[in-house]
């Protein structure tokens, strides 16, 4: 299995806290969609899988290798978490797209500007945005910028925390298309948290219902 997590255990809430244990897996080229009502711990699960949040038990495996044996920095760049609220750094759109490659780990993976421009076109972002201050983008543009940045990092697993939330239907379809095309490459998978049931353009989707798992 490309990516797998077994008995990930975590506690939600402070006063009326409850413990959740969840397992799942996703094969190469596939998308695992995580369902569950608001507050069921979907975001937290993604953050745990990205090793941004502590968990009380369980283990995750990337290409059969446990996260206990992969350094956190390498894990986080390989199992890349894309936050629900797009994170933009000071500077232009272009500098935001190449921000990840300022880290030592990714400095040698720096893609060509053409790759970034190609993705921008695919995600229906105007060429003229390239030099623009990223903090002046609209919510929908910012979400697509963050998504392109994730594509450029080219992780092995992309963890998407409600990517279409800020998008209109046209851009959402463009995002689904770009995601599907990306998934066709070797050794790639995605786990996606979503509220709406729009999977148009996505193939090979399987589901994980957090609401059900925790009741059982």
């Amino acid at each position: 299995m490309h990516f797998q997590f077994n008995d990930i255990t975590y506690t939600l809430g402070f006063s009326q806290s409850r413990q959740i244990t969840v397992s799942g897996s996703v094969a190469s080229g596939n998308i695992l969609v995580v369902h569950g009502y608001s507050g069921s711990g979907k975001s937290t699960l993604l953050r745990i899988l990205a090793r941004l949040h502590p968990c009380e038990g369980g283990e995750a495996y990337l290409e059969g290798k446990s996260w206990l044996h992969i350094p956190a920095t390498i894990w986080r760049a390989s199992v890349h978490y894309l936050a629900q609220k797009p994170v933009l750094f000071e500077g232009s759109v272009a500098s935001n797209l190449f921000k990840p490659f300022e880290t030592r780990l990714l400095s040698k993976k720096r893609p060509a500007p053409e790759a970034a421009r190609g993705y921008m076109k695919k995600l229906l972002l105007k060429e003229s945005l390239w030099e623009q201050d990223a903090r002046t983008l609209s919510g929908g543009e910012a979400a697509r910028l963050a998504f392109i940045r994730a594509l450029l990092i080219d992780p092995k697993v992309m963890l998407l925390d409600e990517p279409p939330a800020a998008l209109d239907e046209e851009s959402r379809r463009a995002l689904h298309l770009a995601l599907s095309q990306w998934l066709e490459g070797p050794s790639r998978a995605a786990i996606m948290v979503t509220h709406n049931d729009d999977y148009e353009g996505l193939r090979r989707v399987s589901f994980l219902d957090l609401g059900k798992q925790q009741r059982g």
Partner: protein, 269 residues
């Protein structure tokens, strides 16, 4: 030039009551509620300084290297306790880290000044070392308090950016670069600014003291130059060491941001 201080007799000192009455008068006239702290503060000023005067006389006569080191270390300890209390954005910060950074910066810069620049005989002469180290410490203490507080507030407000950096495979150090830079800058700025206006807006206390005690102003100025530059160096080193020792506390052992930092942001579920 007459090279002596004009002494203040007990009788003359008693006239300071006039000054206390002025301050107290304003406080009660405006109902500031500062009368009690003013009286208590006045008494403490008299008692503390009188005791320090006797203690310093004794220490200067004794002039023992180990005693001097012990006193400076104690001063560092008190300063570190004070520094960590002045940080509204930081909770439960171990004073030991502040102590370590103050100790290192004060001893390093203080030794350069006393051994190389002023070079008294002997080099650990308490009359030179204690006031010099005290001035360094007082300023370094303020600098590290500002730095530490700024580090935490920057990381809290920029936690989304720091987490994003982590998802790019950044190490904790790479992820907090921007915050670290801001924190050290914030700690150093007041001293750098004071380099610009020194002597124009006010005469620094040490220089004033030397001039009052009859020193040639041109000599006093040379001392003041040394003091200003040593303070900037000590603040810079102190802030850098403290931030270097502190940033790891913001992360878990797995190198993720501490949940306590994120929860104060209030948007994780």
């Amino acid at each position: 030039m007459e090279n002596t201080t004009i002494p203040i007799s007990n009788f003359q000192l008693a006239f300071t009551v006039i000054l206390v009455l002025i301050t107290g008068g304003i406080s009660s006239f405006l109902k500031l509620g500062l009368l009690k702290p003013l009286i208590w503060g006045t008494i403490r000023t008299f008692v503390q300084l009188t005791l320090v005067g006797y203690a310093l006389t004794y220490i200067f006569q004794f002039n023992n290297l180990l005693l001097v080191i012990a006193i400076v270390t104690l001063m560092c300890y008190i300063a570190s306790k004070t520094a960590v209390k002045r940080t509204p954005n930081v909770f439960n910060y171990p004073a030991m880290l502040a102590f370590a950074s103050l100790l290192a910066s004060t001893f390093l810069v203080g030794s350069i000044v006393t051994v190389l620049i002023i070079a008294p005989e002997p080099w650990y002469s308490a009359r030179i070392v204690i006031p010099i180290f005290g001035m360094i410490l007082g300023n370094a203490m303020n600098g590290i308090a500002i730095s530490l507080d700024r580090l935490y507030s920057e990381v809290r407000s920029g936690s989304a950016l720091i987490e994003a950096m982590l998802t790019f495979g950044a190490t904790p150090w790479e992820a907090v670069q921007a915050s670290v830079r801001e924190a050290v800058r914030a700690g150093m700025t007041p001293t750098i600014n004071s380099l610009m206006v020194v002597g124009l807006v006010s005469l620094p206390g040490m220089m004033t003291g030397q001039i009052l005690s009859g020193a040639d102003p041109r000599d006093a100025v040379r001392y003041q130059i040394v003091v200003m530059l040593m303070i900037s160096a000590a603040v810079a080193i102190g802030c850098l060491i403290l931030v270097g020792l502190s940033y790891k506390r913001l992360f878990t052992r797995d190198g993720a941001l501490q949940q306590s930092i994120l929860q104060s942001r209030g948007d994780t579920q």
